[in-house]
Amino acid sequence: MGNKQTIFTDEQLDAYQDCTFFTRKEILRLHGRYHELAPHLVPMDYTNDPDCKLPLALIVNMPELKENPFRSRIVESFSEDGMGNLSFNEFVDMFSVLSETAPRELKAIYAFKIYDYNVDNYLCKEDLEKTLNKLTKEELTPEEVELVCEKTIEEADLDGDNKLSYADFENMITRAPDFLSTFHIRI
C-alpha cells in the first residue's frame, strides 16, 4: 500500500488494524468521515494522538445513523464518559463492532448496552417499553405495549426475576441467526 499518508504513523495503523475489523484503507476512510463531521475541530495529523472529542449532536447527524431510532443510545454506549462524546478511537470502535465481520458475542455485548436505557445491567420492563416505542414510533396502544413487554420477558427470562440479565439476552441471541445481519451498519 502506498505510504504517502501523513495522518497516522505506521505503528498506529497497525494497532488499529489489529484492534478493529478494518483494513488500513478503511481506517483512513473513517478518519476522513470523522474529519468531515467537524473540519475545524478534528486535526488532520493524528500522529501524536490528539485529545479531540466530538459531541453527540454531530455524530448522530451522520447519514448512517440519522434515521436509526437508537442512534443516541448507540453513541452513548461507545463513549467512555457515557454522554455520547466520541474520540476517534471510540468512533472506530463503534463502527468496528457494527461491521460485518465482528463476532456474535461482541455484538451481543454492545446490543445489550444499547437497549439498557437506565444502565443497570438488566433489561427491565421500562427499558423494553422504551425500546418498543422507539421501534414502532409509538403507534402501539399502551395495553399492546404492556402485553408485548410481558411476552418478551416471558420468552427470554431464564432465571425468573422478571428482567433480562445479560445471560438471558445472550442466550436468546444465539438462537436467532438473523442477529448478525441486522446488527450491522455499512460504512
Partner: protein
C-alpha cells in the same frame, strides 16, 4: 463472604473469561460503563504461550479502544522475548490473515452485482434481497451449465460437423426417416421474426435443437470422441451438477438452523431485539420498517387472540368450521383441476393445428403457454378469496396459499408434458395405427425431440415477454396514475408492492422449464442465463421506480431454504421427464444423435463393448454384487454415523440450554437464602 457473593451477582453481566487475557470484574457501582478491568499483572510466560492468537483475539474483546491499543503496545514490546521459531510462525499467521482480508475485499469488489444487492437490502429489507440473491444464484448456475454443455456437446459438434463416421447404419423403415425441416420456397421477411419467436423455420434445424446433432463418432490415431455418448453423459451430469449446487446451498442454510438448536426464538423477543435492521438507510425506508414491525407485532397479538377464540369455540361451531374448511379445500382442488383440464385441451388443440401461417399460427403455437400463464394468474386470486372463508391464522393462510401456487405451477407444467407424451407415443400404445411403424407418431412428429424442445423454448420466451409486457403496460402506468392523481380510489390501491413469494415461484417455474428442455434444446441454459440477467435488471428497475416495500411479511416464506426446497421439487419433475425420455421412448429415426438406437440409453452398452477388455472387466467388477453390496453397506454406515452425530449435538445443545435455566434458578434460590440469612443476622446485631 456474603457481600462478595452479592457483588458478584450484581456485577455479573459480561462473559467473565477470554482465552488469552484474565479479566477482573468491576464491581464498583459508581462507574456507569462497567467495563471488565484488564489484569495487568499477568505473567509474561502466560502471554508467550498464547502468542499465536492474540492479534486476532484483541479485536473481539469489549474493552474501550484506548485500553486495547495499550494492550497491543504491551504485546508488541513482548514479541522479541519469544523464540525465533515462534516469532516466525506468528509473522506467517499475521501475513496470512492480511492476505485473507485483502482477498475478501477483492472478492467483494468483483462479486456480481454486489453493490446493487446491498442497496436493495438497505432500502427494501432482507426479504426482497433474498429474492435477488436467489436470482443471482440461478444466473450463475445456468451460466456454468451452459459452459458445461458448450464444452462437451456444442463445440465438439461444431468442430466435428463434417468429419466422423456414423455410429450405426440405418435400419429403419423409410417413412420414419423422413424429416425435412428446411422451409421451402421463398420466405417472407417477417417470417424470420415469427420463426425466432416460435423456434420453427430457420431456427429448427440449428444447434439450438436436438435434431441438428449428428450421431457420429470421430476417431483419429489416438483420439476418439463419441458425440451421442457425450450428449447423453453431459445431460446426466448437468442434472447431477445442479443437484449438488442446490444441496450445497441448502447446506449452509440448514447448518445455521442446526447450530441454533432448531428451535426458533420466541416471536416477540425476536421482533423487539432483532427486528430492527441497523443498516436501514433513508427516511422512507425507516418509516416503512417501523410500520412493518408494528404490523408484525399486531399480527402476533392477533394470532394470540384468535388462538384464545378458537379454544373457546363451542363444539357446534367447531364442527361447522371444520366442515367448511374441508369443503373449501375441495373447491380449491376443483379450481386447480379445472386449470389442468384447460391446459390439456389447449395443448391438444395447439398440436392439432400446427402448420398454420402467420400471426394466427403463432397464437396457436403459444396457446399452451398462454393458458398456463392465465391459470397461474387467475387461480391464486380465487384461492385467496377462498382463504378468506377458511379463516385460518394469518401465517397458516400465507403458507397454504404458497403451497397451492407451487402445486399449480409445477403440476400444470407436468400436465403439458403429459399431453405431449400422449400425442407422441399414441397414449403409450405402440400398436395403434399411427405408432406402429416407428413406435412414435411420426406423422405428427417426424422429430419429436425437437418439438418438445420447441415447446420449452416457447415457454421460456413467453415468460420473459410477459414479464416485460406487465412491467411496461401495468406497473409503470400504475405508478404514474398513483403519483399524479389524488383520487381516493387510487390512493387506496396505492403503488405496486413487491411480493416476494410469487416472484420466487416464477423463477422456480422458469428454471424447471429449462431443466426439462435441456435434453432437447442444449442451448436453453444459455438463453435462460440471458433471460435471467434481463429479468434482474427489469425487476431492479421496477423495484426502485414503481414499488413500495411489502408491509406484510412473513419470515418463513422469505427464507432461502424454502426457495431451495421448492426448486428441488422442480428439479425432481424435470428428472422424471428426463429419465422417462432416456429409457422408454424410442428416439426419432430422422434426426438427432440417437437416430437408430432403440432407446437413448442403449448407446451406453453399445459404447461399453468398444472399450478395451481390461476396462470392461473393471467396470463389470464395480457393477457386480461383490463390490456394490459392501459399498452400499459402507455408505449406510457412514450415513448412520452422521445422523447419530447430528442427534448427539442436538441433544447436547438442548441439555446445555436446560442447564443454563437451572443455574439461573439456583442463583435466584441462593440469593433468596442469603437475604433470609441477612435478615436473621440483623436483629441479632
Amino acid at each position: 463472604m456474603a457481600s462478595e457473593l452479592h457483588s458478584q451477582h450484581t456485577g455479573n453481566s459480561y462473559p467473565s473469561d477470554q482465552q488469552s487475557l484474565r479479566l477482573r470484574q468491576d464491581s464498583s457501582p459508581v462507574s456507569n460503563q462497567n467495563y471488565p478491568q484488564f489484569n495487568w499483572s499477568s505473567s509474561p510466560a502466560e502471554d508467550e504461550v498464547d502468542n499465536s492468537g492474540p492479534p486476532r483475539d484483541l479485536r473481539s474483546i469489549p474493552l474501550p479502544m484506548s485500553l486495547k491499543r495499550a494492550v497491543w503496545q504491551v504485546q508488541q514490546m513482548q514479541v522479541p522475548v519469544v523464540s525465533k521459531v515462534e516469532s516466525w510462525k506468528w509473522k506467517k499467521t499475521k501475513s496470512l490473515h492480511k492476505l485473507k482480508d485483502r482477498t475478501r475485499g477483492f472478492l467483494y469488489f468483483i462479486t456480481l452485482w454486489g453493490k446493487t444487492l446491498q442497496k436493495i437490502g438497505g432500502n427494501f429489507g432482507g426479504g426482497v434481497q433474498s429474492y435477488f440473491l436467489f436470482l443471482r444464484f440461478l444466473v450463475v448456475l445456468n451460466f456454468l451449465s451452459f459452459l458445461l454443455l458448450a464444452g462437451f456437446v456444442l463445440i465438439p459438434s461444431i468442430v466435428f460437423r463434417s468429419v466422423g463416421t456414423s455410429l450405426q447404419n440405418s435400419t429403419g423403415p423409410e417413412e420414419c426417416m423422413n424429416y425435412n425441416p428446411n422451409p421451402e420456397g421463398l420466405v417472407v421477411f417477417y417470417h424470420y421474426f415469427l420463426d425466432f419467436l416460435s423456434g420453427t423455420g430457420f431456427m429448427e434445424y440449428s444447434y439450438l435443437f436436438y435434431g441438428f446433432y449428428n450421431n457420429t463418432i470421430v476417431e483419429d490415431r489416438s483420439f476418439s470422441y463419441n458425440i451421442p455418448l457425450a450428449y447423453l453423459f453431459t445431460a446426466v451430469f448437468y442434472f447431477a451438477f445442479c443437484l449438488i449446487c442446490i444441496i450445497a446451498r441448502m447446506g449452509t442454510a440448514a447448518r445455521v438452523a442446526v447450530a441454533t438448536g432448531g428451535s426458533a426464538v420466541g416471536n416477540y423477543s425476536k421482533i423487539v431485539f432483532i427486528g430492527w435492521d441497523y443498516g436501514c438507510l433513508g427516511d422512507q425506508a425507516t418509516k416503512l420498517k417501523q410500520k412493518n414491525l408494528h404490523y408484525r407485532l399486531q399480527v402476533d397479538l392477533e394470532e394470540e387472540r384468535l388462538r384464545k377464540q378458537a379454544a373457546a369455540l363451542t363444539l357446534g361451531a367447531k364442527i361447522l368450521l371444520y366442515s367448511l374448511r374441508v369443503f373449501m379445500f375441495f373447491v380449491a382442488l376443483g379450481l386447480i383441476f379445472a386449470a389442468f383440464y384447460g391446459i390439456f385441451e389447449a395443448t391438444n388443440f395447439s398440436q392439432s393445428r400446427t402448420g398454420e401461417e402467420g400471426i394466427l399460427g403463432l397464437i396457436f403455437e403459444y396457446l399452451p403457454s398462454i393458458v398456463i400463464t392465465a391459470g397461474n394468474f387467475v387461480v391464486p386470486m380465487l384461492c385467496d378469496q377462498i382463504a378468506l372463508v377458511e379463516r385460518y391464522s394469518p401465517s397458516t393462510t400465507v403458507i397454504l396459499a404458497l403451497l397451492r401456487a407451487v402445486f399449480l405451477r409445477l403440476v400444470s407444467l407436468g400436465v403439458l408434458l403429459f399431453t405431449l407424451w400422449r400425442q407422441i407415443t399414441c397414449e403409450g400404445d405402440t400398436n395403434s395405427q399411427d405408432c406402429k411403424q416407428c413406435q412414435y407418431n411420426n406423422k405428427l412428429y417426424p422429430c419429436w425431440e425437437t418439438r418438445v424442445g420447441q415447446e420449452m423454448y416457447r415457454l421460456t420466451l413467453f415468460d420473459l415477454l410477459i414479464t416485460i409486457a406487465v412491467l411496461i403496460l401495468v406497473e409503470f402506468p400504475r405508478r404514474m396514475v398513483v403519483d399524479n392523481s389524488s383520487n381516493m380510489l387510487t390512493q387506496w390501491v396505492g403503488r405496486q408492492e413487491f411480493v416476494v413469494p410469487s416472484n420466487i415461484l416464477g423463477l422456480v417455474y422458469g428454471q424447471t422449464v429449462v431443466w426439462t428442455g435441456a435434453l432437447f434444446c442444449p442451448l436453453l441454459p444459455f438463453i435462460n442465463t440471458i433471460k435471467f440477467v434481463i429479468l434482474f435488471y427489469c425487476k431492479k428497475i421496477t423495484l426502485f421506480y414503481n414499488c413500495r416495500p411489502a408491509l406484510k411479511t412473513f419470515r418463513s416464506t422469505t427464507s432461502t431454504f424454502f426457495f431451495l426446497v421448492v426448486l428441488l421439487f422442480g428439479w425432481g419433475l424435470a428428472l422424471v421427464v428426463m429419465i422417462y425420455s432416456l429409457a422408454e421412448i424410442r428416439p426419432s429415426m430422422g434426426c438427432g444423435p440417437f437416430r437408430f438406437f432403440p432407446s437413448m440409453w442403449s448407446i451406453v452398452p453399445t459404447s461399453f463393448y468398444r472399450l478395451s477388455q481390461v476396462t470392461q472387466e473393471f467396470l463389470f467388477f464395480i457393477g457386480s454384487q461383490a463390490f456394490s453390496i459392501p459399498l452400499f453397506t459402507l455408505s449406510c454406515v457412514v450415513m448412520c454415523y452422521f445422523i447419530a452425530l447430528a442427534s448427539v449435538y442436538g441433544n447436547s445443545v438442548a441439555l446445555l440450554r436446560s442447564q443454563i435455566k437451572l443455574e439461573g434458578r439456583d442463583k435466584q434460590f441462593l440469593v433468596k437464602q442469603i437475604e433470609k440469612l441477612k435478615q436473621l443476622e440483623m436483629p441479632k446485631q
